[in-house]
Symmetry: C2
Subunit: 445 residues, 2 copies
């Protein structure tokens, strides 16, 4: 096994699941591992405590006569459930004969951020220095919405001052084709709890007399869409910037077709919003998605209860120029308006972040496209948007005033957030290569 | 502690949860305990193996010159979840200073069937014999719909031949008021699985492109009712026998008012079907209830997934003259008709049983009313129907040709099927008294 792979496997073995409060010690250990790595390659590292999981930063000596690039990533990973669908331990990485690494976090985001770190390490090892000032910023709360990062950015605004930001936490349209993601969807999360009887009731004895929280929550979340797949919350689409004709035309020529989406999702059929292709829906249209719905008996056989409570976890994916806070207000109003009497509705707001768009035709945008062309030669880089959210990209723009280059290495079949997440050795090494070229191109941009 | 209570506590300590396949040994142990008890009081006991949990029978010597009564009960109990809501171990019974026993199965059905057994024991101890032939039949699968009892009845039809059946597994309208339940609702269970993507998907990356199984199942089960609480399955009400005016008038005079139901359920408000009181809905109107609904992330925080599957557990409570099998067919047709494309719907039928009604003005019915008056003096017995289901009551009628007297001891606040189930010592001793009087009254009816 190469040194690169040994490093990655050690990183992947730390079960840094940020949603799980029982994993706090693992997240601390992961932050220490990173700080040690940064120190070993010749950078000055620091672990910053937050009310949540620590942030790790690292930098070379800042010189006023050269540009500064900030590279952001995250060391926390998604939960692993359902664990039964994993072919092995999610935190014991495996390498297949054809070069596929399987582990939770392999692509999202440990593999990608480590590629940047190792690219910097090799540049320092080869040249004795870097062509620019570098700041690494690696947090442990990306998967829970980065609740403490914005405050950290504000507090450390001067030390973090930079000309451009680079992040590899997005998709690569196909193997060996450099991909610049110029847009991301935003997110806004909401949790509903419908409370009825003060205890679980026998559905024979009381059924018909009281409202069933499960029935109420079903009828309530069923009002979020119409039959054509449009979101029915009043005002939801008011601020949506329509897809531009050039985007729709460019996307139609990408190697990502709706037939690919069908295959990737493994769904019986695609179900886009009426009037749009599935790709347009995933990249450029807002959604209301149920991420969790639960209440009552879930075990073997039947248990004839009317449960005391029912729960729904909802997330909205947003596009420019929707305001997440306004969307949460509209959604809450909608739910309260459609909740029948006989139950109590509790609405809890979760994390949120606005959508993001970058003009690819700036000096740094063009430098990034050159680096992508050189690191992955033979193909013109793809210009894409992405359906996922990195809310802190908007924060970077707002607080540090810098644009972000999204240079993702996640292949369409990497199964991020799903069981059996993968990363290819080819993309890992490609990412290390890309970092080295990118630093040079950004220095001369 | 009295011998009666020692017996009951020993019975309650056996965790005989029939839905849980890991509890098979506990159910066998419970059957053995019962057989030993029957033998100890002077009856001839037998444990009958079934493809599921065993059936225990016991009898005295059959004499052709006297009547035969069959007493039915069950030794299995409901699951205990949510365990966190129990104040103590559900299988370590406690006795409060004011005579309240708390344990899973305290009322449903261990306390009630044991009262009959101890009543018989005391009659034999006092008189050396019983005034009639007795057959006890105690099964271990009532809470999972008695899947093997009907076959057992058919196979042992001759040995089980009887004139009348008595069961204490229903409610007592108020403390110390004998209650004859002359009607029960039927039941029909259905489980829905909606399958979409072949794995959990990142709801950012793919949201909008595919149907979300949670959204689909919500919209699907939301079609089961209209806003007035009526079930919208086509044909659902076709065979419903309307409530008779005398019943509605009699029930309105019972000490069970809608205000009592409100208090018992702890719901913010009652929500009866339009045109009926809550009590009429619970006793005499059919329902479609969600007993479980689940899919996606249920843990702390958020996980932005589109889950591969969503599940709903549904049970219909039926009234005379609805046919459970016809209702399941209509329900399945309804669900298939309302399921959108983009997902796969799997419908699994569960257990079912028809509703039951008895004429209280037969010789045995009048004998039961006399026994209730004598065992609980000072108040006219209440004639009620009940919302719960004992499907095997219809089977007894069909296979053995005998009517069933439902002489329940479950108080309205006994919390059966809920955490912290209770039984009062007063009702336990009242049940023993009732059994002794009932045997005498049935013998001379």
């Amino acid at each position: 096994m190469t040194d690169h792979l040994s490093d990655l496997f050690a990183f992947l073995r730390i079960p840094s699941v940020s949603t799980d409060s029982a994993r706090r010690a693992d997240l601390r250990q992961c932050a220490s591992w990173l700080a040690d790595k940064f120190t070993a390659i010749g950078l000055t590292a620091q672990i910053h405590q937050t009310p949540g999981h620590p942030i790790v930063s690292a930098r070379n000596r800042r010189r006023a006569d050269r540009r500064t690039v900030l590279i952001y990533g995250h060391y926390d990973v998604q939960p692993v459930d359902p664990l039964t669908l994993w072919r092995g331990d999610p935190f014991e990485p495996t390498l297949s004969a054809d070069g596929v690494i399987t582990a939770r976090g392999a692509t999202d985001n440990k593999g990608q951020i480590l590629a940047h770190i190792l690219g910097v390490a090799e540049t320092i090892a080869a040249d004795g220095d870097l062509p620019l000032n570098i700041i690494f910023l690696v947090e442990g709360e990306e998967e829970i919405g980065s609740p403490h990062l914005a405050a950290f950015l504000r507090e450390h605004r001067d030390e973090l001052a930079c000309d451009i930001i680079a992040i590899s936490d997005t998709g690569m349209i196909e193997p060996n084709r450099g991909t610049l993601t110029y847009g991301l969807r935003g997110i806004a999360c909401l949790e509903l709890t419908v409370s009825g009887p003060d205890k679980d009731l026998h559905s024979g004895i009381y059924g018909g007399a009281v409202a069933n929280p499960l029935t109420v929550i079903s009828r309530l979340v069923a009002t979020l869409h119409d039959a054509a797949g449009h979101v029915t919350i009043s005002g939801f689409y008011d601020d949506v910037a329509p897809l531009e004709p050039w985007e729709r035309a460019a996307w139609a020529k990408l190697p990502m077709r709706d037939t690919d989406l069908l295959k990737l999702t493994g769904a019986p059929a695609l179900a886009p919003e009426q009037g749009y292709t599935a790709l347009e829906c995933a990249w450029g249209r807002p959604t209301a998605e149920l991420n969790g719905l639960y209440g009552g008996y879930q075990g073997e056989g039947s248990k004839t209860v009317i449960p005391a409570e029912a729960h729904a976890k909802i997330s909205f994916r947003l596009v420019p120029d929707q305001d997440p806070i306004k969307i949460l207000s509209l959604a809450e109003q909608h739910c309260r308006k459609h909740c029948p009497p006989g139950v109590t509705l509790t609405v809890t707001r979760g994390h949120s972040g606005a959508a993001y768009r970058l003009d690819p035709d700036t000096a740094f945008g063009r430098a990034a496209q050159r680096a992508l062309t050189l690191a992955f030669p033979g193909k013109t880089p793809a210009l894409v948007r992405e359906g996922g959210s990195i809310p802190i990209v908007s924060d970077f723009k707002k607080i540090l005033g810098a644009d972000t280059l999204l240079l993702g290495l996640a292949l369409p079949d990497a199964r991020i957030h799903s069981p059996n997440e993968t990363f290819t050795v080819e993309n890992f090494e490609g990412g290390i290569r890309l970092n080295k070229i990118l630093l040079r191109e950004l220095a001369r941009a």
